[in-house]
């Protein structure tokens, strides 16, 4: 780890000022991604701004047909939330399947979504549910938010404050864990609501989380595993690595899709 300065602001405003005063400053949430990268000297922020002191960023509420989750809410808190369990049990289950207990008790939804790891679970839920990512500057729709591997439309010094997940009639996430890292090798999230069906795939896409329009159309016509049986999954835009070639990932997308539909 390189030496760095550490700030722990107590309001969003203070955090904003700290970021602006130090270009290249990094936000610290649960630190499950940032700290290992710093320890390996892959990340070298001169300033670390810890969001842990801002109470407003934590917590889960239900309002106007949506679940609002503060950016600093841990995976464990989401997994154990009775609010989430009642409205979007699939989201609680997703959070319960992230990493291990240590990771779940430190890692946050804001950090996960901001980081947009291609193997992360939350991005699939954000995209499938058509969630809105609220930041210190604006509200960003899920379809606009993610734009590539480890990349989002967040600007320098933009802080995710909370995420609103519209409550769906049905939401489920099926994860196929990477045998080594246990991140998603393929994860498929399916949400059915009045406005239609949305399907998002994580872990597999060569440019990160993406939607599966053919599956959405098929499921909108008939919401059943059978409706997507035999659906042809294009492997050409999928990742190939030592854990899975693109054709296997394509196959798994089909399997996980059917399992998510149930």
């Amino acid at each position: 780890m390189y030496a760095f300065d550490y700030r722990r602001p107590h309001s969003l405003n203070e955090a904003d000022l700290a970021l602006k005063a130090h270009p290249g400053a990094k936000l610290l949430a649960g630190g499950q991604t940032l700290i290992p990268a710093m320890k390996l000297r892959l990340a070298e922020p001169g300033q670390v701004v810890d969001l842990g002191g801002i109470g407003d960023l934590k917590g889960i509420t239900q309002k106007d047909g949506a679940i609002r989750i503060g950016a600093m809410t841990t995976h464990a808190a989401v997994a154990e939330s009775t609010v989430v369990a009642a409205a979007l049990p699939g989201l609680a289950a997703l959070a319960a399947g992230i990493g291990d207990p240590h990771v779940r008790n430190r890692g946050t939804i804001g950090g996960s979504v901001a980081n947009n790891d291609p193997g992360a679970d939350y991005p699939a839920a954000v995209l499938a549910l058509g969630a809105t990512v609220h930041t210190s500057k604006r509200a960003i729709g899920a379809d606009q938010f993610f734009n590539g591997l480890f990349s989002t439309v967040l600007e320098e010094s933009e802080i995710i404050t909370h995420i609103d997940f519209p409550v769906a009639e049905r939401f489920a996430y099926a994860k196929f864990a990477n045998p080594a890292s246990r991140y998603a090798l393929v994860g498929v999230a399916v949400a059915k609501s009045k406005s239609g069906v949305r399907v998002a795939v994580t872990g597999a896409g060569a440019s990160g989380v993406y939607r599966l329009p053919q599956a959405e159309t098929a499921l909108a016509a008939s919401f059943s595993a059978k409706a997507v049986d035999g659906l042809k999954i294009d492997a050409s835009n999928l990742m190939s690595d030592i854990h899975a070639e693109a054709d296997y990932r394509a196959h798994l997308i089909g399997v996980m899709l059917r399992r998510a539909v149930g």
């Binding site: 080594a180 030592i242 899975a244 296997y248 798994l252």
Partner: protein
């Protein structure tokens, strides 16, 4: 007192400090004036070093020194050694290149040591290390053990043409050829035994310290055998004579073999400590562990089994390329030769065996002993062959094994080993019953109804442990003897200190060795402390590996205890005023036969030190005895493991559904600890079969260099194990123990692959059988079975 002695599942004495964070590992130790070392490592698999510019690094804050291979050479510090000489078929000695602790002109694998930077703080050392500019002339790399001997491949060492260290063989080729010529059936398999990264929980670490007042050196290091480390560093590397060098291996958090070897980092730390007259500390991070801990396995083998019409095995033939990596690690040469081929007979009566092994260099991390060391590789070969031969000849795999079991003991195999005892059918019968083998078909049908495949696989392994008689290993090329020492110091109050040359790094010696003392001397285990891991305390020892601590180290303790009893009888006789041969000792009490005179063990100890009641001309005061124990033979633990797997056809995920293990470890000192060893070993073997596998790309980069990419088994990957024991006491040591530390890792891979291939209905899968690999194998299933 016997409720704590041999055979009792007492809780581990050492666990209190381990689970409350009070263990003292090397990294927990900090010395006055300590400095920190960071190694500049090669990012290339193969390159000439054209120059090293350390000017900027030397000027960086806090830097105390930067050393390279030239500095070691100038101080006449020798290279690291390989302590086992192997001769090729043609009689020529193995061809090994030098192994300098810091590279001299050339780097040979990613992670190879180029320079050491020593600074006041760890961060300063890291900062400065980044400023060391190394000018590399990158060379093509030889990576694949199956291809490295071909002409035109990059040459790792000039001393070893065609990257061939040795071409060794064992057995009778003509007899084997003749047997194959008349065989009714030949089973042939191409086998890859995948390369493993040991991943002990505690990474390696070292602190070197020099005392300029006494000219003494102390090395704290994560070692399984501190005395061997001292011997090598003194006699071969030339750090200091043995009486000037103390090596301490304190609490060590797992080794699995990887901490047997003498490594570059500890060598440099102890050498540099004198050079700069400051303690020098180094602790590996996990990435360094992946790159620089000696790896395990990595064999490419073609193996054949000849069977006659009646299903009797006639002969076995194997040809193995063993990847030794870029340098020969401390015992690397022995693992794929004498620790491998002599086990190819398994539990079977095989009249003729012939095995050829080429030890080869590649531009990869050195490979050496890893839990089982050669025996898992042998077991995988024979148990895959036997299973497939049974399938191909339409026989039940259990019955085919039984038909060929050795039943008469002692049994001389055609490949060196003389098995002393065993009852293989007893293990098999017990395992079959425990595994509900008869009703497997019902479970298979139930799985099929869920769209899943189910398979069952056997592994009837044997291993040679308690390694071993010094004269035997010496005749096979070992540079050391493999006895063990024990010193028993009875205190005047009757408490006991045992100094052992074995080293515990997770095995629980502080408990099991105390249990041996409890049984022999009749004292409670809380009155016994076990001292190990310090060359200033324990005079000499050979350390812990090869499941030898119970059989060899424990036996040495028994021998020393017998001497303590003998001396105690003399003291007691004098005190009780009877003849020595009138004194009996039992359950902690000396008594004079035919009288009501008695003395407790503690009373006799006190009298031995008070020395008032005996003639010093006849009896020396004190109660302290030593034994160096050298066994007559290896021990031969064996057993039958049965794995039952269920495979999700849609994803290729293999679930280990049931596991039956029936092992014959002879006498058990602490059954709970033995079961723990079995559990851990099976988990490691399942890891090898399903998840683990170090992979290099064609340029020699290790692409599985972190837990993100190298899959380790976790608790959820294994079922609750169904474990039982049979017991044929080992005749060659006084405890009757055989050793249990490696059995699980030896047995499990073959059982797993046999179960998976049984489910698939074909043999086309290699380890690790990852979901992707299994899914692809499912696509190749015969139509009917897949339906």
């Amino acid at each position: 007192m016997t409720d704590q002695g041999i055979g009792a599942s007492v809780k581990r004495k050492e666990d209190l400090r381990f689970i409350t964070g009070k263990g003292q590992y090397v990294d927990d130790i900090n010395r006055q004036g300590q400095s920190y070392a960071i190694f500049v490592r090669s990012p290339h698999a193969h390159a000439n070093i054209k120059g090293i510019d350390a000017k900027a690094a030397l000027a960086a804050p806090g830097v105390l020194a930067i050393f390279t291979g030239e500095d070691l050479a100038a101080d006449k510090i020798g290279g690291l050694i390989c302590g086992w000489m192997i001769h090729s078929k043609d009689g020529s000695p193995m061809k090994a290149g030098p192994h300098p602790a810091l590279a001299q002109g050339k780097v040979r694998y990613v992670g190879d040591h180029v320079a050491v930077v020593i600074a006041e703080t760890l961060d300063q050392a890291k900062d400065a290390a980044e400023k060391v500019a190394v000018d590399y002339d990158v060379l093509p790399a030889a990576v694949d053990p199956a291809k490295t001997q071909r002409s035109g491949q990059p040459q790792v060492h000039a001393e070893a043409p065609n990257n061939t260290v040795y071409q060794w063989h064992l057995g009778d080729k003509d007899a084997v050829d003749a047997a194959f010529a008349k065989a009714a059936h030949v089973t042939k398999l191409d086998i890859v035994n995948n390369r493993l990264v040991p991943n002990a929980m505690e990474p390696r670490a070292a602190i070197g310290e020099y005392d300029s007042g006494t000219d003494n050196l102390t090395l704290w290091t994560t070692s399984q055998n501190p005395h061997v480390a001292r011997l090598v560093l003194s006699a071969f590397v030339g750090i200091a004579p043995e009486h000037k060098l103390r090596v301490i291996a304190p609490d060590v958090g797992g080794g699995f073999g990887s901490k047997i070897f003498i490594y570059a980092e500890e060598t440099v730390c102890i050498w540099a400590a004198r050079k700069i007259n400051r303690p020098v500390k180094w602790t590996a991070d996990r990435s360094e562990a992946f790159y620089s801990d000696a790896h395990g396995r990595d064999h490419v083998t073609t193996a054949e089994l000849a069977v006659d019409k009646a299903g009797t095995i006639l002969a076995l033939r194997a040809n193995t390329k063993a990847n030794l990596g870029a340098y020969l690690s401390t015992f690397a040469s022995s693992v794929p030769t004498y620790l491998y081929a002599p086990l190819l007979s398994g539990q079977y009566n095989i009249p003729a065996i012939y095995c050829e092994v080429d030890g080869v260099y590649t531009n990869t991390t050195p490979v050496d002993a890893y839990r089982g060391a050669g025996r898992p590789e042998a077991t995988f070969v024979i148990e895959r062959l036997v299973e497939v031969a049974a399938r191909e000849t339409g026989r039940d795999p259990a019955e085919f094994r039984r038909q060929n079991f050795i039943t008469q003991f002692p049994h001389q195999t055609p490949v060196i080993m003389a098995y002393d005892t065993g009852d293989y059918a007893a293990c098999l019968d017990k395992a079959l019953a425990m595994a509900d083998y008869k009703t497997f078909g019902q479970r298979k049908a139930a799985s099929a109804a869920k769209g899943k495949l189910r398979g069952i696989g056997f592994s009837a392994y044997i291993e040679a442990c308690g390694i071993a008689p010094s004269r035997a290993v010496g005749s096979l090329g070992a540079g050391v003897g493999l006895w063990e020492s024990a010193e028993i110091r009875v205190n005047p109050v009757g408490t006991v200190e045992v100094l052992t040359g074995s080293h515990s790094h997770g095995q629980g010696h502080e408990t099991t060795m105390a249990q041996i003392i409890s049984s022999k001397l009749g004292v409670p285990i809380d009155s016994v402390s076990i001292v190990h891991g310090d060359t200033d305390k324990v005079q000499m020892g050979m350390g812990t590996y090869g499941s030898r601590s119970g059989a060899v180290g424990g036996s040495a303790i028994v021998k020393a205890a017998e001497k303590v009893i003998a001396k105690g009888k003399r003291v007691a006789a004098a005190c009780m005023e009877v003849e020595e041969d009138q004194v009996d000792f039992e359950a902690g009490e000396f008594s004079a036969r035919g009288t009501n005179k008695k003395m407790t063990f503690g009373e006799v100890a006190l009298q031995a030190y008070v020395a008032h009641k005996f003639d010093p001309e006849k009896i020396e005061p004190g109660l302290k005895e030593t034994s160096f124990y050298d066994p007559k033979n290896f021990t031969f633990p064996s057993g039958v493991h049965i794995a039952e797997v269920e495979i999700d056809m849609a994803t290729g995920v293999t679930k280990v559904d049931r596991w039956t293990a029936v092992d014959d470890f002879g006498v058990l000192i602490n059954p709970m600890i033995v079961e723990g060893q079995v559990h851990g070993g099976i988990a490691q073997g399942v890891g090898q079969a399903l998840l683990e596998g170090a992979r290099y790309d064609e340029t020699g980069q290790l692409v599985t260099a972190s837990f993100m990419d190298y899959g380790m088994p976790r608790a959820a990957d294994v079922p609750s194990f169904n474990v039982a024991m049979t017991n044929t006491p080992c005749p060659s040591n006084p405890l009757g123990v055989k050793g249990c530390g490696e059995a699980g890792a030896i047995a499990a891979p073959a059982a797993m692959v046999n179960a998976i291939t049984n489910a698939l209905g074909h043999e086309g899968i290699a380890m690790p059988a990852t979901p992707q690999a299994v899914w692809r194998a499912i696509q190749k299933m015969p139509r009917k079975a897949a339906e």
